[in-house]
């Protein structure tokens, strides 16, 4: 796994803190997941979520605040500044939404906010599409990490554009990348790590599962499997069958 702004994470799993049945279930799910990063949204809580944020700090993990629900660069920048004060971290998962229905990132607002926040000393994790040109621009604007989506937020569809994601991964081999959003199953997370992504970020798949704690554990196993498989240098797919037992020398009856 590549470092994130100089930080080596103990686990490639980043987990969101929204939508759990209760904070107690959330804490237990985090423990079961072995996640190294907890993401937290600020905007909807209007800056008054102190009690809940204390619970999140109590998890003892890296906190990655996000700008979820922001629809313009300006809104996202303000939220990021608030997050830095509240959590004492320069990390910010930058989300600038361009479409209310698909929650697709707005590439232009994202680029604008990335540039402004990077210049202001933030360590930006931009939530982006798999678009390679946008990725290049974001890196030029000061981002050192990319967070391409797997599929729309909360959709659980998995890796929607495998070709695009593979191309993106190959185009920037040195950039740490997190597949963020759209993962519904542990197999999606394993898939992302097998493809060479450094980490995955998810929330709904765990929080809204019938048993969030069990699902958290399932994701922990999946990311471990995916990372290990990647390290083990997987075989390349082939069109032609290759018998694992040679035909020559077989007893001829």
């Amino acid at each position: 796994m590549r470092d994130f702004h100089g930080v080596r994470l103990a686990s490639p799993l980043m987990l969101g803190t929204a939508q759990y049945p209760s904070p107690a279930v959330m804490e237990e799910a985090f423990r079961a997941s072995g996640a190294s990063v907890a993401t937290v949204s600020l905007r909807r809580e209007g800056g008054q979520g102190q009690a809940f944020w204390d619970i999140i700090r109590g998890l003892g993990l890296h906190v990655l605040p996000n700008t979820a629900g922001c629809h313009s660069a300006r809104e996202a920048i303000t939220t990021a500044q608030m997050a830095r004060e509240l959590f004492g971290t320069n990390w910010i998962k930058l989300e600038v939404i361009g479409d209310a229905d698909t929650l697709q990132p707005d590439p232009f607002g994202l680029l604008e906010a990335t540039e402004a926040l990077a210049a202001d000393g933030f360590e930006v994790f931009p939530f982006t599409t798999e678009d390679q040109v946008l990725a290049k621009r974001l890196l030029e604007a000061g981002a050192q990490v990319l967070m391409p989506w797997g599929a729309p937020i909360g959709s659980g569809l998995g890796l929607n554009n495998r070709y695009g994601l593979r191309t993106l991964r190959a185009a920037f081999p040195d950039v740490p990348m997190v597949i963020d959003a759209g993962l519904g199953l542990p197999s999606h997370a394993a898939d992302a790590l097998e493809m060479g992504f450094d980490a995955v970020l998810l929330n709904t798949a765990v929080a809204q599962a019938g048993d969030p704690v069990a699902m958290a554990r399932a994701f922990a196993l999946a990311v471990e499997a995916g990372a290990l498989a990647r390290q083990a240098d997987p075989m390349a797919p082939r069109d032609m069958a290759q018998p694992s037992t040679p035909v020559i020398g077989k007893a001829w009856l």
């Binding site: 049945p21 209760s22 904070p23 909807r44 809580e45 209007g46 008054q48 619970i55």
Partner: protein, 321 residues
């Protein structure tokens, strides 16, 4: 001379006074605002007695204790025992199946209109026959009246457990400021739509804006409620009103013509597991953390507090501090 002093005359304190009386003891009831009103979060409740629905996102204790709430309230105030309905919009049908898998006490019906003929278009629903609803403000008033008839008046005074000698039941909600207790903001809207007839609560499952609509007398409907991890006590946000009204409109477009009577926002006191507790601290019992289960859980919580006071029985909702 009172045997027990209860501080806080919201749904928890009133139920506690009722239970204490039922055990043959004399309660004294104190609230800094006097009778129940907009100052307390009980005022803003939906009044659904829906233990099975709550099971989708709540601990089993809520489902188990909540099933006895309707019987308690029926002895105090009018309770509509007509069940409740759960529906989902066309594109979220999968949500209905998921909800069904995670709850009990329901049966699937093909057409909502069979039960609520006035509601727009035919659509599948879950019917939870054993659920009920009440008007929370009427329930508070009726409980106050029932207590007064037995000689218990609400004294309007500032008090903390330290000010009082003898056994105390602290039912002050957020004002109690207990460790682990947090506020979860909720926002609601009250509408009048006399042309819409609905005889039971309808819960609309929606991935972004789940809401419920509870019918009240006189063509009035309560739409609730948002749930934010925030202790912000300001008035309802425009976003919340938009979400609640849009969801109601999606259920029946006639809600667009409704008269907007009232909006409300307050904090639900909650513990980390969102399950109400009686916390024992010497002579003081703290009844708190009723979260979104005030009317559903206050009777059980009051009963367990009283059983501990009178017989030393420690029920599952009791916690040693």
């Amino acid at each position: 001379m009172a045997d027990v002093t209860i501080i806080g005359a919201g749904v928890a304190g009133l139920c506690a006074a009722h239970a204490v009386l039922g055990a043959g003891l004399t309660p004294r009831l104190i609230d800094r605002h006097g009778a129940p009103g907009p100052h307390g979060c009980s005022w803003w409740a939906g009044g659904m007695l829906a233990p099975f629905c709550e099971g989708a996102v709540s601990e089993p204790a809520i489902v188990a204790h909540g099933q006895r709430a309707a019987a308690f309230w029926a002895g105090v105030t009018p309770v509509a025992q007509r069940g409740s309905l759960v529906v989902a919009l066309q594109r979220d049908r999968a949500e209905l199946d998921r909800f069904a898998r995670r709850t009990s006490g329901h049966r699937a019906i093909d057409d909502l209109c069979a039960l609520e003929p006035d509601l727009g278009t035919p659509q599948p629903a879950l019917f939870l026959e054993q659920e009920a609803h009440l008007d929370p403000r009427a329930a508070l008033a009726d409980l106050v009246t029932a207590l007064a008839a037995r000689g218990v008046q609400i004294e309007r005074a500032e008090a903390t457990p330290q000010d009082i000698s003898g056994p105390v039941i602290d039912a002050r909600g957020m004002a109690a400021d207990l460790p682990g207790l947090r506020g979860v903001r909720g926002e609601m809207v009250v509408l009048r739509a006399p042309e819409i007839r609905l005889s039971r609560p309808v819960r609309l499952l929606h991935p972004r804006h789940p809401i419920y609509i509870v019918p009240r007398a006189g063509g009035v409907f309560m739409l609730g409620a948002t749930q934010l991890e925030s202790s912000d006590r300001r008035g309802v946000s425009a976003r919340a009103v938009l979400e609640l009204l849009s969801a109601a409109y999606a259920l029946d477009p006639r809600f667009a013509e409704a008269e907007l009577l009232e909006t409300g926002a307050d904090l639900r006191p909650a513990y980390p597991d969102n399950v109400p507790r009686v916390t024992i601290r010497g002579r003081v019992l703290h009844l708190n953390g009723l979260f979104r289960h005030g009317y559903l859980m206050a009777p059980a919580l009051a009963e367990q507090a009283t059983a501990y006071l009178t017989k030393g029985i420690k029920g599952d909702l009791l916690h040693e501090d």
